[in-house]
């Protein structure tokens, strides 16, 4: 009897072990560090050749989009840049991307960029996610408030 039950135990442990092993190795292989742009700028010296996901704002006037080649470059900057000396650029990181623009992508939008941070200090994006529509609810409120005034 005991031998029979231990067979089941071994089978179960094999499956549990396989699940654990798969989870562990897959996390090691696919993990991506998530930073806000402020955290990223602080740590960027240590992040060359790492897969990162960075949340920030598309800097106004920085978008260069070539619809024929489907290449995009822009600068990602902090959502609250603080005081910037006159004439100076806000702190940020250059992003390059190849592919179709997401629908909501525009200057001043908050986006999440996922990609590889190269030693040349460029973020080569594989995905650009625009923040989800609910984030625009403040805008709606604003509009309603304006209607109020």
């Amino acid at each position: 009897m005991a031998a029979k039950q231990s067979k089941f135990l071994i089978g179960a442990l094999l499956i549990v072990g396989a699940v654990g092993y798969l989870i562990y190795t897959s996390i090691q292989e696919t993990k991506v560090y998530y930073f806000t742009i402020d955290e990223f700028l602080l740590k960027k010296a240590t992040l060359a050749n790492t897969d990162v996901r960075v949340a920030g704002r598309v800097q106004a006037g920085s978008i260069q989009w070539d619809p024929a080649a489907l290449t995009l470059t822009f600068r990602l900057m902090p959502i609250e840049p603080g005081t910037i000396p006159v004439g100076a650029l806000p702190p940020g990181v250059a992003v390059s991307y190849q592919g179709i623009l997401p629908d909501m992508f525009a200057e001043g939008r908050d986006v999440i960029v996922e990609g590889l941070y190269t030693p040349e200090q460029q973020l080569v994006a594989s995905t650009i996610m625009t923040s989800c529509p609910s984030k625009y609810e403040p805008e709606i409120e604003e509009r309603l408030t304006r209607a109020d005034g």
Binding site: I27, T30, K31, R53, Y136, A147
Partner: protein, 665 residues
């Protein structure tokens, strides 16, 4: 109307409190009058929630933009059916919708059990009303749906364009039905634990509810995939997004339960495990709602984020504490004297299937909350995306597919080698032959080859079961083949309906494996320019513009040619929803059984006339929807009224009920 709605919600909360107190007090003092009064109050809660729902619908349909919810989620140009869908399009409405369905289900449960399960019912009523009270409390005090603005806007800000899609009008209700019906087995499980009536009465009573929940969870997930495929425009149907994960996790545990419960029915084993699965499924539905509502994890689907997180977490903590506490308290009574006999048995197959399903749920859970965990533990937010889930859940899914071929066919208790040979030789040969053939044909994607040959193995096994049963009836009862097949299924709908569900599952696997052969291309062209993707030539002829009060659209016309012959014309669009000031992409899909041609108008540059297209060739996707339909059909067969089952149920019920009445008197 809206005042009436608010009043109804407050009244419903009070009645829910009353129902909880009287039910529990009644059972404690053994006074049936109290219990009956609690039951009546529970019905009344439902009545009040219905009134509140009518009030909200009324506000939406009369376009009362002074109501904040109406102004935020609809507009004067929103079509009627989407205006109705706006009921569950925003957070407040969806919580009210949740309460509505929950009360509806509660009423059905109370009515079904008006004379049965008298011992369990007070606890069931109390549990269901506690859940109702949680949602009613949110609606009364945290997110009042009838809140008014200090002014009357002349226009609403419209429903999110991504939700203005016909799949989206039915996908959330389907998922809600699945989520909410999971609370019924949970309530009975708690009642069984509380009363100590741990026999199979509660299981038999809730079997249909568990199935119903599973049915709607399956439907909700399928429709969600369909919606993502048509609306999100990234070429796929499943992205392991936190909100999708929230919907699939309870499905995994519910599927596990539907299998393991058979072991309890047959062998009176795994009682603790089944109890745990029922509790876990319910907890995961609440956790799923928490994920979508709290915004703790960023997701493309979080249309309605808010500060509800802490309330949900508190509620979750309460549920877990009570459930685990009761479970530990009854642990000694849940022991079984039986043991498993052999690894070569259906019990073993089901046991391993359960471990894999729970493993799938756990891996999905782990990946979903990993950003939070890693931030807590290491101070760095680490996220994992689709590659993680595919790497983990892919192999587990393949193991599950293999067991799908073994479990339903292998004998209970202990399979002899000769019966194994008789049952599995043909399926094994077919599966291996299929794999070999694919290899010879040059397929070197081993993942796909394994899945396809396993699919062949499982399907052959199921077909053999059908043909064996049908032939036996033909020979012994002299029935015609169709008659024999019909009666075979009719006589044992649980078994053969289950096989049909498995056919659906196999086809879904088959369709998903098609994704291993996806072709994607992005290209920018000017008018009258053509380009090749796979075997297709696409000729872009130009853009036309279309506009109404609600939407402005740029519609591209693309002729599809194969071997120089035009076979179709497609019209992907770029839309602009005026009220929400939001551009969206409308894909055009040309589905066939072999592959879908999926065409996205990425952008249109007016000055240069250049249009950017993204084209996907998605092989076998149609089989996912076909498999889904078969799965739904199979579930309907299982759920069809079954006289034999009712008889068994009546027999099993009687002794307990007599005792129940004795106590009541």
């Amino acid at each position: 109307m809206t005042h009436l709605g608010t009043l109804a919600l407050y009244l419903a909360s009070l009645l829910a409190v009353y129902a909880i107190v009287t039910s529990l007090w009644g059972v404690r003092t053994r006074r049936t009058a109290w219990i009956a009064s609690g039951t009546q109050a529970a019905y009344a809660v439902g009545g009040c929630v219905v009134i509140a729902s009518i009030a909200l619908l009324h506000a939406l349909l009369t376009r009362d933009f002074n109501v904040e919810y109406v102004a935020s989620y609809s507009s004067s140009t929103l079509p009627l059916h989407y205006t109705v869908a706006a009921f569950w399009g925003g957070q407040k409405g969806s919580l009210l919708f949740w309460a509505l369905i929950h009360c509806f289900f509660s009423a059905i449960v109370l009515f079904q059990n008006r004379t049965r399960n008298q011992e369990l019912m007070p606890y069931v009523t109390a549990t269901l009303m506690i859940i109702a009270l949680f949602f009613l409390g949110l609606l009364c005090f945290i997110t009042p749906p009838f809140e008014r603005l200090s002014f009357i806007p002349d226009e609403g800000s419209d429903l999110n364009p991504l939700l203005q899609n016909y799949w989206m009008t039915i996908h959330p209700p389907a998922l809600y039905l699945g989520f909410i019906s999971a609370s019924v087995p949970f309530a009975f499980a708690l009642a069984a634990l509380a009363t100590g009536k741990l026999g199979d009465v509660w299981i038999r009573t809730t079997r249909r509810w568990a199935l119903t929940s599973w049915f709607f969870l399956s439907l909700g997930n399928l429709l969600g995939g369909r919606w993502a495929y048509e609306v999100l425009g990234w070429g796929g149907y499943w992205a392991w997004d936190p909100v999708e994960n929230a919907a699939i996790m309870p499905w995994f545990t519910a599927t596990a339960y539907l299998h393991s419960v058979m072991i309890q029915e047959k062998k009176d084993m795994l009682k603790v495990w089944n109890m745990t699965l029922v509790i876990l499924t319910f907890v995961l539905t609440i956790f799923g709602t928490f994920l979508t509502r709290s915004g703790v994890i960023s997701s493309v689907h979080s249309f309605t984020q808010s500060g509800l997180g802490p309330y949900f977490l508190t509620f979750l903590a309460c549920i877990l504490t009570v459930s685990i506490g009761l479970l530990l308290y009854r642990l000694p009574d849940l022991k079984s004297e039986n043991e498993f006999d052999s690894l070569l048995s259906r019990e073993a197959a089901f046991l391993f299937n359960n471990l894999i399903l729970v493993g799938l749920a756990f891996a999905t859970f782990w990946g979903t909350i990993f950003p939070i965990l890693s931030e807590w533990v290491r101070g760095v937010k680490i996220t994992v995306g689709p590659p993680f889930f595919n790497q983990v859940n892919g192999p587990l899914g393949v193991m599950l597919l293999f067991l799908t071929g073994i479990g339903p066919i292998i004998a209970w208790r202990r399979a002899s080698w000769s019966s194994l040979g008789r049952q599995f030789t043909i399926p094994l040969v077919v599966g291996l032959a299929l794999g070999g053939l694919l290899f010879v044909l040059g397929y070197r994607n081993y993942y796909a080859v394994v899945i396809f040959s396993l699919a062949g193995f499982v399907l052959t096994g199921i077909l053999a079961e059908f043909s064996r049963g049908t032939r036996a009836r033909q020979v012994m009862l002299h029935e015609s083949p169709p008659q024999a097949l019909g009666r075979l299924i009719g006589k044992n709908p649980r078994r053969y309906g289950g096989y049909i569900v498995h056919v659906g599952v196999v086809l879904i696997f088959f369709g998903v494996a098609g994704a291993l052969f996806t072709i994607e291309k992005q290209i920018t062209v000017s008018a009258e320019q053509s380009f090749e993707v796979g075997r297709y030539t696409l000729l872009y002829t130009g853009i036309t513009e279309r506009e109404d009060a609600h939407i402005a659209a740029q519609v591209a016309t693309v002729n599809i040619l194969v071997d120089g012959q035009q076979i179709d014309t497609m019209h992907p669009e770029k839309r602009f929803y005026k009220k929400q000031n939001q551009p969206t992409t409308e894909v055009d899909i040309r589905p066939t059984l072999v592959e879908d041609l999926y065409l996205v108008l990425g952008s249109y540059d007016e000055p240069s006339g250049l249009a950017t297209f993204q084209v996907f060739i998605n092989p076998l996707v149609s089989w996912i929807w076909i498999g889904g339909l078969i799965l739904i059909l199979g579930t309907c067969v299982i759920m069809a009224p079954n006289p034999a089952e009712r008889q068994a149920f009546a027999l099993a019920r009687t002794p307990a009920d007599i005792r129940g009445q004795a106590i009541a008197e």
